[in-house]
């Protein structure tokens, strides 16, 4: 069902409501690490098949927010979550929901590429599908090729699928991890600083890939790199001290932020 996403109108300065399907909706989302109140009531709608960037200084809660969207936050001992997270209308924290299945619907790519070290390229990509019970070799072949193509890695590795994943360059390893995440056909892909360990050329490939993937799935990307957020995303949220300060179209955010704190942060005057 289409939800309304608030996007600031660049012409009139006034918020207007734009019809968009919502992929992820959070309502009054709070998160704690022990007594540290890391997220303080985040309510926002992530639009479907768009790239949403989350920016903010270190410790603002942006990675925690991301990890709440696929129930990874609760893997930390003493971590707690309250509030609602719906992925395509389904409450992922509802009783009886299997977090493993949530993580299949909402995949994640981390800062440092982390291919399974003992597995070859093929097995890295196939791992998730195999865990889900797929044994048919032909179907696995199809999934591996489709995922590697989607991650723009197929041409580079198709002749060495049985080499270790760790034999690839950093940028290739990151795309391998993206292929691995895509193999289980997620609805949403979370990317936590996916290019911060990569050189500029590999970074641009990941950014291009994120844009390309957003034609099919919803992407939420956390980044410290303001230019990256500006280049890659349609919508941007600025977090500060566990709160969402501003959320709206990326163009508006980077040419005319409304909140003084957003302006100070993106112009590099604090952070």
């Amino acid at each position: 069902m289409p939800k309304q996403l608030e996007v600031r109108n660049v012409e009139t300065h006034a918020p207007t409501l734009v019809e968009r399907n919502t992929a992820v909706q959070t309502d009054d989302l709070h998160a704690w690490f022990d007594r540290l109140h890391a997220l303080r009531g985040i309510t926002l709608s992530v639009p479907e098949r768009q790239v949403t960037a989350i920016i903010g200084p270190s410790g603002c809660g942006k990675s925690t927010f991301l990890r709440c969207l696929n129930r990874m936050h609760e893997l930390v001992p003493s971590a707690r979550v309250s509030g609602v997270v719906r992925v395509h209308e389904r409450d992922i924290y509802a009783p009886g929901v299997d977090p493993v299945l949530v993580r299949r619907r909402v995949g994640m790519v981390f800062q440092k590429p982390n291919p399974f070290p003992t597995m070859n390229i093929y097995d890295n990509v196939a791992a998730g599908v195999r865990l889900a019970g797929e044994r048919d070799r032909r179907r696995l072949d199809e999934v591996v090729e489709r995922s590697l193509r989607a991650a723009a890695l197929w041409e580079e590795v198709k002749d060495r699928l049985h080499k270790p994943g760790t034999s690839l360059s950093g940028g290739q390893q990151q795309r391998l991890c993206i292929a691995r995440a895509l193999a289980v056909s997620p609805e949403v892909l979370l990317m936590d600083e996916p290019a911060s360990a990569l050189d500029p050329a590999a970074t641009l490939r990941i950014e291009e890939l994120a844009r390309e993937l957003a034609k099919e799935i919803t992407i939420v990307i956390v980044t410290h790199n303001m230019q990256q957020a500006a280049r890659v995303s349609d919508v941007t949220g600025f977090f500060l001290a566990g709160q969402l300060v501003e959320f709206g179209s990326t163009t508006g955010m980077f040419t005319r932020p409304i909140d003084k704190r957003t302006e100070d942060y993106i112009t590099g005057r604090f952070g």
Partner: protein
């Protein structure tokens, strides 16, 4: 995180715009004074001066490019730098109008004026006020002052129309005056165009301050 070097560069960029604006304003005023005094030497100096203003323009443009390339400015900083690009083009054109008036002064040097100068010095006076206020609005990031300044363009247009009307009358009564009357029309046209450039600059100032880019005086 502070951006000391960047803020210093931005400040210097703004100072450069003000300096260039003052030079362009002085050139126009000097050209009108040269017309009043029939001073060909002064007109020559203003024509020669144009190269120096062009050099200021190039220098400011290069500084903008360097800041864009090295600092990846965002939000208000981005609006300022993008606007300085546009503002310096307008200032450079204004200086070209001063040169145009000076060339008319040279062509008119040997002959009497077709009438005493009244409206043209008044146009210059209003224009000088507009330039001063626009540069002030730029320095103080004052969008209201920029809007008020642009509104004065109407007075310049009215005077220009009066010059046009007067010159037509003179030319109809005495066709001998046509070449000299046309020169004064050209001068009035240069002043009117210079004021239009000030209006453009005011639009950029409003954009820097508010993020809204729209035409003033439509």
């Amino acid at each position: 995180m502070t951006r000391g070097a960047f803020e210093r560069d931005l400040r210097q960029l703004n100072e450069g715009v003000v300096r260039m604006g003052e030079r362009a304003g002085e050139a126009i005023h000097g050209a009108v004074e040269a017309l009043r005094a029939r001073d060909v030497a002064a007109a020559e100096r203003i024509i020669a001066e144009d190269d120096a203003i062009d050099a200021l323009h190039m220098d400011l443009e290069q500084r903008c490019m360097r800041l864009l390339a090295t600092q990846q400015p965002m939000a208000g900083d981005l609006r300022t730098i993008a606007s300085v690009f546009a503002i310096t083009i307008d200032l450079e054109r204004m200086a070209d109008h001063a040169e145009g008036i000076s060339r008319a002064v040279k062509r008119l040097a040997a002959e009497p004026l077709v009438k005493p100068l009244v409206d043209i010095p008044q146009m210059d006076e209003i224009l000088q006020g507009m330039i001063r206020d626009a540069l002030m609005a730029f320095q103080m990031e004052n969008a209201d002052l920029a809007r008020q300044t642009a509104a004065q363009d109407d007075a310049i247009d009215r005077l220009r129309n009066r010059v046009l009307h007067d010159m037509l009358e003179i030319m109809i009564h005495d066709p001998q005056t046509v070449p000299r009357a046309l020169e004064l029309l050209i001068v009035a046209r240069h002043l009117e165009r210079a004021a239009d450039h000030v209006t453009n600059i005011c639009e950029r100032i409003v954009y820097i301050v508010t993020g809204e880019l729209r035409e003033l005086n439509v």
